[in-house]
Amino acid sequence: MTRVLGFWLACLWFTNGIAAPTLPAGILKLQPYTAPALQLSDMDGNPFDLRQARGHWVFVHFWASWCAPCRREMPTIQRLHEQFAHSRLQLVLINTAEDDDTVFTFLSAVAPQLTSLMDRNGLATERWRPRGLPATYLVDPQGNVRYQALGGRPWDQGDYQQFLRHLIGAGVNPATR
């Protein structure tokens, strides 16, 4: 009897350990596909290539300062950045087709800890074919796009944090999700 109970408790623990939390509102699970190329530099000229982020989950976020939902969402991404510092989640922001002055002025006022890659002619953004701006994709450690957010999301809220922590959590194999 004790062994039977132990077996079921073990099953319960195991399934809880790997079960995905409910998808937060506005997060779409996608049929995985290879992430489009993303090779850009930030305002200081530091280059970034998404291929070099293999082994990490990457939060790929396209934005522009003129887009009202982007402006509302950006402070929540700053808080996400603070809460996930030193984690296996890498945040990558891409500004779509604005200039350095505009991006610098906006970020320094709204999210001073964040930096952004500059898609100066907008072509990198086009390759990802977002539904609109803002657009956020979650790319798995193998370089596949696995989730997409619909519009701006409150990334600093509990269910989004729990979802992201689950994705990057130790012992969780994203390929089983």
Partner: protein, 187 residues
Amino acid sequence: MNLGTRTFAAVVLTLLLPANHLAHAASATREFDDGRLWLRLTARTPQQIAAFYIGRKFPANMIDVARKQCFFTVVIRNRSDKIIWLDLARWRFIDRNADINRLDRAWWQQQWQRLKAPMASQSTFRWTLLPASLDFHPGETEGGNLTLPRSGRRFSIEALFPTEADGSGKPIRVRFDDLRCAEDPKP
């Protein structure tokens, strides 16, 4: 400024506006809501359009082209639990009994190529247009500008929104009558 302050400011501004401005403001925005689909249509004046793109550092020749056209900002929210399709090919713009041809992305692209417009400005302009087609997921909100040739005449918009993932569900019909392109205020 919090929401309460903004509401108070809006009420004060409304009370201070002369009556003709109130009528103008009331006719500039229309809404549709059937519990499944919410849609807001706002006519933009040439000054509003110019101000927006000047703020985005567009060159003067692009702004000249834009301000001569008729802009409506459209915001759409899927309030249902099913997919709702936006497909601009299923929108009609009716001036009396004749259809008006929408200025689509290809038309704008031609203008920008003719002007040798900067790629960054072209990209930003594209992102400010309403998508030609999009499957709105439950709870999703997207928007953008709808553009038509500018005229002083009144017209109607009749739009069909197919439903379900494959678009086979009964479409939602939206109609707005007595629309006009917004004009700049008279000095």
